[in-house]
């Protein structure tokens, strides 16, 4: 991705600089694709789906700005998560307004473009590693993923049983 001059204002050398304009641009493209997917996945009208995507866009853009300029560093996805929460917790006056816009959006359809980019992004190196990895590491990888999932699920289940 190209660096953009407009994003160089307010230099903070200590942290990785996010080039805001290219991110905003890419988010527009991704939101347009996402809008089309919402029309397939939900019963929303084109206008309502556009509103929903615009609402999510605003949260993402806000998160990127915070990741770029906030006095302490958090990854942009963490800022976006926090902004999404702050926009909809019950004790803020605007929660119902925000929910009215984004509530009908189908979250699963939102994840589809990301995985399409991920499939197209598989690099030559990754293909080489996958071929070289051998069956033992592939088996271990399955147990690693199962281990983190079962470990967390069993502990959560036990704690929920005790605290309920």
């Amino acid at each position: 991705m190209s660096a953009d001059n407009a994003a160089e204002i307010g230099v903070r050398p200590a942290r990785e600089k996010i080039a805001l304009l290219p991110h905003f641009r890419d988010l527009v493209l991704i939101s347009v694709i996402g809008w089309a997917l919402q029309l397939i996945a939900t019963d929303m009208s084109p206008i309502a789906a556009l509103g929903g995507m615009a609402g999510l866009y605003a949260i993402c853009a806000g998160g990127l700005v915070l990741a770029r300029f906030a006095p302490f560093y958090l990854p942009s996805v963490a800022w976006i998560s926090l902004l999404g929460i702050a926009a909809t917790v019950p004790f803020v006056p605007w929660d119902q307004a925000v929910l009215g816009v984004v509530e009908e959006i189908d979250f699963l359809a939102l994840s589809v473009p990301c995985l399409a980019y991920a499939g197209l992004a598989v690099s030559r190196d990754e293909v080489t590693i996958a071929k070289r990895t051998g069956w033992k590491l592939a088996v271990i990888a399955v147990f690693v993923l199962a281990g983190t999932y079962l470990g967390s699920a069993v502990i959560a289940d036990l704690v929920l049983r005790i605290t309920d």
Partner: protein
């Protein structure tokens, strides 16, 4: 204007993603029944699969449309493309904040469950498959980007530990969404563990694995969809915050110690990073 011209130059990539995503969404959610359980196949899985099949590094013929330039440009767009999804997750966490406070102890303690990678995979690596120091890098974490950084920093990626973490990373990248969809949909239909617990466990610090996991769970248990999304999202946010520290200060020292007990003759390498 440069910003716009750069995007137009990548029209092949964005057009391919638009077509892939629409085809995947039109196929929709499919399921295979297995006795009492069911395995769900989600649009995001097809999107990844079609993307891989159109990738010139996997299918040489795909190079007529998708070139190395598009492949390189696609990589940073993965993070951008997950952002609207993360934002939507945030807006589902907000209204459920009281439920989350109620579930707080479970939510916090299940982060320790990420050590399940060690509990389950390490014994298999060392005693069943008789693997060497690869076991350390392979099993101390779920091998996402922050964990690769830890191994790269301590051993270098050309070391056996580096081979271990990269191998699991690549397998996770290629098959993680499928594995999580299968696990979540089967456990949801088996009715052994609390669905809230299954939802919390979905937050492993990887957006696409969480998407697949929560998608499968909420399709299997549609009446609990909002709770599932809120629990998974909150847990994933916690993992973003804690995962690297758990790996660095708890899991890795623990696995190193275990390995030194399991293979006293083949000590953990302490050399400087390559």
């Amino acid at each position: 204007m440069h910003v716009l011209i750069d995007a137009v130059k990548l029209w092949r990539l964005h057009l391919a993603v638009a077509v892939i995503a629409i085809v995947a969404q039109l196929i929709g959610i499919r399921q295979i029944s297995l006795g009492n359980g069911a395995i769900l196949f989600l649009p995001l899985l097809y999107a990844f699969l079609i993307g891989v099949l159109l990738n010139p590094n996997v299918m040489a013929k795909a190079a007529v449309f998708i070139r190395q330039r598009e492949v390189r440009a696609a990589s940073p767009l993965i993070v951008v493309a997950i952002m609207p999804f993360i934002a939507k997750f945030g807006t589902t966490i907000g209204p459920a904040v009281e439920d989350l406070v109620d579930a707080g102890p479970a939510l916090l303690l299940q982060e320790i469950g990420n050590l399940g990678t060690v509990a389950l995979a390490f014994p298999i690596a060392v005693w069943v498959l008789r693997m060497g120091r690869e076991s350390i890098g392979a099993t101390f974490s779920v091998a996402r980007e922050p964990n690769i950084a830890i191994i790269a920093d301590r051993y270098g990626l050309k070391s056996p530990e580096g081979t271990g973490v990269m191998g699991v990373y690549v397998v996770g990248t290629l098959f993680g969404t499928l594995i999580f969809a299968v696990m979540a949909s089967m456990l949801a239909t088996f009715d052994l563990l609390d669905p809230q617990a299954l939802a919390m466990a979905c937050g492993v610090g990887s957006g696409s694995m969480m998407a697949s996991c929560t998608g499968a769970l909420s399709e299997a248990l549609p009446e609990m969809s909002d709770t599932i999304v809120a629990m998974a999202g909150a847990s994933n946010l916690l993992t973003y915050a804690t995962g690297m520290y758990l790996g660095l200060f708890v899991a890795l020292p623990f696995v190193e110690w275990l390995y030194s007990k399991a293979r006293p003759a083949n000590p953990v390498s302490k050399e400087a990073p390559a």
